[in-house]
C-alpha cells in the first residue's frame, strides 16, 4: 500500500526507531522567538550544552514588539514595557551567545516567525519544521511537516536537532470543485473548523486535498494550514506543486542551479499515492461555502455571515449547549441576532494567518476610495517588514491611511495583545487573526474572526459585512 504525503515526510526524517519507544525525528529547521525560548536557552546554560546546529535555527522578534515605532531604532528602547524589553533583550543575548541568526525589530527581515520563514525560502517541501508556537502548522502549506512545540521541546531541539515523537494518525480533508466568488481560504478553514469542532483534528496530521486547495495561492494555502491547530490537528499539509515551486524559485534560501532541479524532482514525489489510506476523511462541498465569521469564543463557534447568532438550546450535545451559553454571555450577544447587525469598535488586519501581501492587497482593494466608519479603529499590521515594504511599493499604505486606517510596523500585534495593541474591556473586533478566545486580544475584549475581505468591508460599514454589502 502506498504512503500519504505526511507519512513520506515522516519516514524520511526518522533517525531511530525502536519498539515501544517514540521515533526520533530529525528537525530540518527550528524557528525561535522571544516568548517561548528564554527558559530553553537557560536550560542549555545550566547543563553546559551547545546548540547542536545553529545554522538550522533562526530567530525573530515578533510577539512582544510594538508596531508604532519609527525607524531607525536604537536597540530595544522603543519597547516601553520593561518586562517585554527584558524578554527581547534576553533573546538577543541568547542568540549572540549561542551563534543563532536573529532578525531583530527594525531589521528588514524581521517579522512574524511564520511569515519570514516562507518569504526567505527557508520553508521548503518535505522538511520538518518546528517552533515554540502552535501556528507553526502554517509551513505545511509547502508540503512540509511543521508543528508547534513547548519550551521543553525547544530546548530538546536546540540541544539535539531531533524530537522523540509518536507518529500521529493521518486525515484527509477534501474539497473538490471551485470556490464560489468572494469565498477566501479563511472562510474555507473557518467552515472546516466549525464542521469538525475544536477537537476534531486531535491526533492527526491533516492533508488538505482537492481542487479548492490546488487553486489557492501559497498565501491562501498558508492561511488554511495556519489554522489546523484550531481544530486540534498536529499538522496541516498541502502537497507541493507548480504553485509551490513558482513561489520558491529564486528566494534567498531556495536551492539553485543543479540543486534546484534535484530538489524539484524530489519534491514532485511528495504526493499521497493513489492507493494510500488515510485513518480518517472529511469532505466539504465547495458550492456550499460562503463568507464565514465566528460568533463565540472558540474558532469552532462560527457560521456563515448570512446566518444569525445561534440559540444555545438548539445544540444537541449538553457540553456544546453550555459552551454556547457561556460564549454568548461573554460576547454579549443575543440568540437570533443577525450576524450582519453586529457592530464593531475595531478592525484588525494582520497576524500569521492573514498578514501577508495578498491579504493586504485584498483588504486594500475593498477599502480603496472608501472611509473607515466613524468611531471604528482599523489597524493594518503587515506580517513582516518585507510585506510592509512591498505594500508601500504598491501604494497600499496610502490606500489604508487615506481611508483612516492605521499603518503599522510588523509583528504579532493585536492577534494576542502581548504588545500595546489591545482591545479595551468590552470592545469588539473583527479580526483576521486565528483565535477568538476570551480575552485573547485584551482583557474583556470580544473577537469575531473574519477574512481580510470581510474585515475591510466591516471597517467601512461598522457592522460585520462582506464586500457584497457595500
Amino acid at each position: 500500500m502506498g504512503r500519504t504525503l505526511a507519512e513520506k515526510v515522516w519516514d524520511a526524517h526518522v533517525v531511530r526507531s525502536a519498539a515501544g519507544e517514540p521515533d526520533l525525528l530529525y528537525i530540518d529547521m527550528h524557528l525561535v522567538h522571544e516568548v517561548t525560548s528564554p527558559q530553553a536557552f537557560d536550560g542549555l546554560r545550566q547543563t553546559g550544552r551547545p546548540v547542536r546546529r545553529p545554522e538550522l535555527t533562526v530567530a525573530t522578534e515578533d510577539h512582544n514588539v510594538p508596531t508604532d515605532y519609527t525607524l531607525p531604532l536604537l536597540g530595544a528602547s522603543s519597547i516601553t514595557d520593561p518586562v517585554s524589553r527584558i524578554q527581547v533583550e534576553t533573546l538577543r543575548k541568547n542568540c549572540a551567545d549561542f551563534g543563532v541568526t536573529l532578525y531583530p525589530m527594525g531589521d528588514a527581515e524581521q517579522g512574524i516567525v511564520h511569515v519570514i520563514g516562507p518569504q526567505l525560502g527557508i520553508t521548503q517541501p518535505g522538511m520538518t519544521i518546528v517552533c515554540g508556537d502552535s501556528h507553526t502548522s502554517t509551513h505545511g502549506a509547502f508540503g512540509a511537516l511543521a508543528f508547534g512545540i513547548g519550551t521543553s521541546q525547544v530546548e530538546h531541539v536546540l540541544a539535539t536537532q531531533t524530537l522523540p515523537m509518536d507518529r500521529p494518525k493521518t486525515m484527509a480533508v477534501t474539497i473538490d470543485g471551485d470556490l464560489p466568488d468572494g469565498v477566501t481560504p479563511k472562510d474555507v478553514i473557518l467552515a472546516v473548523i466549525a464542521k469538525a469542532g475544536t477537537g476534531g483534528g486531535q491526533g492527526y496530521m491533516v492533508e488538505y486535498r482537492g481542487r479548492a486547495f490546488e487553486q489557492m495561492s501559497m498565501e491562501g494555502r498558508m492561511t488554511v494550514c495556519n489554522m489546523s491547530i484550531e481544530w486540534g490537528a498536529r499538522a496541516g499539509m498541502i502537497a507541493p506543486d507548480q504553485v509551490t515551486f513558482d513561489y520558491l524559485r529564486g528566494r534567498d534560501h531556495a536551492p539553485s542551479g543543479a540543486d534546484w532541479d534535484a530538489a524539484v524532482q524530489y519534491w514532485t514525489g511528495l504526493r499521497t499515492e493513489p492507493d494510500a489510506r488515510f485513518d480518517a476523511e472529511l469532505e466539504l462541498d465547495a458550492v456550499s461555502l460562503s463568507p464565514f465569521v465566528t460568533w463565540g469564543t472558540n474558532p469552532g463557534q462560527g457560521a456563515p455571515l448570512s446566518a444569525s447568532v445561534p440559540d444555545p438550546a438548539e445544540f444537541v450535545e449538553p457540553a456544546d449547549r453550555v459552551a454556547a451559553e457561556k460564549a454568548l454571555a461573554y460576547m454579549a450577544l443575543e440568540p437570533g441576532t443577525r450576524l450582519r447587525d453586529i457592530t464593531v469598535d475595531t478592525v484588525f488586519v494582520g497576524s500569521c494567518t492573514n498578514g501577508r501581501i495578498e491579504d493586504l492587497r485584498a483588504a486594500a482593494a475593498i477599502i480603496k476610495g472608501r472611509q473607515v466608519a466613524p468611531g471604528v479603529r482599523m489597524l493594518v499590521v503587515p506580517g513582516s517588514m518585507r510585506v510592509r515594504e512591498q505594500a508601500e511599493q504598491e501604494g497600499l499604505h496610502e490606500v489604508f491611511t487615506a481611508a483612516g486606517a492605521q499603518w503599522r510596523q510588523a509583528g504579532c500585534s493585536m492577534c494576542l495583545g502581548m504588545n500595546p495593541d489591545q482591545l479595551a474591556p468590552g470592545e469588539r473586533s473583527a479580526s483576521t487573526s486565528n483565535r477568538n478566545f476570551e480575552g485573547r486580544q485584551g482583557k474583556g475584549g470580544r473577537t469575531h474572526l473574519v477574512s481580510p475581505l470581510v474585515a475591510a468591508a466591516t471597517a467601512v460599514t461598522g457592522r460585520l459585512s462582506s464586500p457584497a454589502d457595500l
Binding site: Y26, T36, I86, G150, T160, G199, Q202, G439
Partner: protein
C-alpha cells in the same frame, strides 16, 4: 524532571470544556524569562472576574488535582500553562481529552495529565462537590485513579466502595515520569545515530547564517 509515582490529594472540579491555554494563562503573563513564578497568571481572568470561580472558593484551597471538562489545553503551545498549574500547586490534571501540545508539555514537566471518560469525570465532579475534602489517589504505577465516594453520594444501605478507574498512558512516557528522566539525556545516548543521519540529508537543505 520531578518524579511521579503516586499522588493523593484533594481536587478542584472545573466544570468547563474547551479550556484554552489563553484562559489557563493569558499572554500578558508570558513575558517572564524564568521557569517559575507563573502562579498569579493561572486562570487570572476567571479568578478576577468571577467571585464564585472554583479556585476562589475556600473549600478547594490546597487542592492538587484539577478535574476539567473535555479538550483541556487547546490553543497556544505555551508551556507556561503547565508551569502555572505546577506553580499553583497542581500535580495532576484530569480531563476526558487533552489538546496534543498541552499533553506533551505536561508530561515533560512532571505534571501528570490523566484522561478519564466523560461519565467518570462527571461522577468525580459530583463527588468532589459533595465533599471537597475528598482524597483522590492518582497511581502512575498501576495507571489508576481511586477514590471512595462520600457517604452522602450513595444510598444508606450500600456499603462503602472504592471507585477504581484505569487510565491509558504509554509505557515510555510512564517510565520517564516514574524515573524522572531527562529527555535530552535519553536522546543524546543516540548522538551517533543523529550524526549518521545528518550525513544523509538532502544537500540543498536550507542553512541560515553561514
Amino acid at each position: 524532571m520531578q518524579k511521579f509515582t503516586e499522588h493523593t490529594g484533594t481536587a478542584v472540579p472545573l466544570r468547563r470544556s474547551n479550556v484554552d491555554t489563553d484562559q489557563i494563562i493569558p499572554a500578558v503573563f508570558l513575558k517572564r524569562v524564568s521557569r517559575t513564578g507563573f502562579e498569579d497568571g493561572l486562570f487570572s481572568a476567571w479568578r478576577a472576574n468571577e467571585p464564585d470561580f472554583v479556585l476562589n472558593r475556600p473549600a478547594y484551597r490546597g487542592a492538587s488535582i484539577l478535574v476539567a471538562g473535555a479538550d483541556f489545553g487547546t490553543g497556544s503551545s505555551r508551556e507556561h500553562a503547565v508551569w502555572a498549574l505546577n506553580d499553583y500547586g497542581f500535580r495532576v490534571v484530569i480531563s476526558p481529552r487533552f489538546a496534543d501540545i498541552f499533553r506533551g508539555n505536561s508530561l515533560k514537566s512532571g505534571l501528570l495529565s490523566v484522561e478519564l471518560g466523560d461519565k467518570v469525570v462527571q461522577q468525580l465532579w459530583d463527588d468532589i462537590e459533595a465533599e471537597p475534602a475528598l482524597p483522590i489517589t492518582v497511581d502512575l504505577v498501576q495507571r489508576q485513579v481511586r477514590w471512595i465516594p462520600p457517604a452522602s453520594m450513595r444510598p444508606a444501605e450500600e456499603p462503602e466502595r472504592s471507585q477504581v478507574h484505569d487510565f491509558v498512558l504509554d509505557d515510555y512516557a510512564r517510565w520517564r515520569l516514574l524515573e524522572g528522566l531527562d529527555d535530552i539525556d535519553l536522546t543524546l545516548r543516540h548522538a551517533d545515530d543523529i550524526t549518521a543521519f545528518e550525513a544523509t540529508r538532502n544537500p540543498w537543505s536550507p542553512m541560515v547564517g553561514i
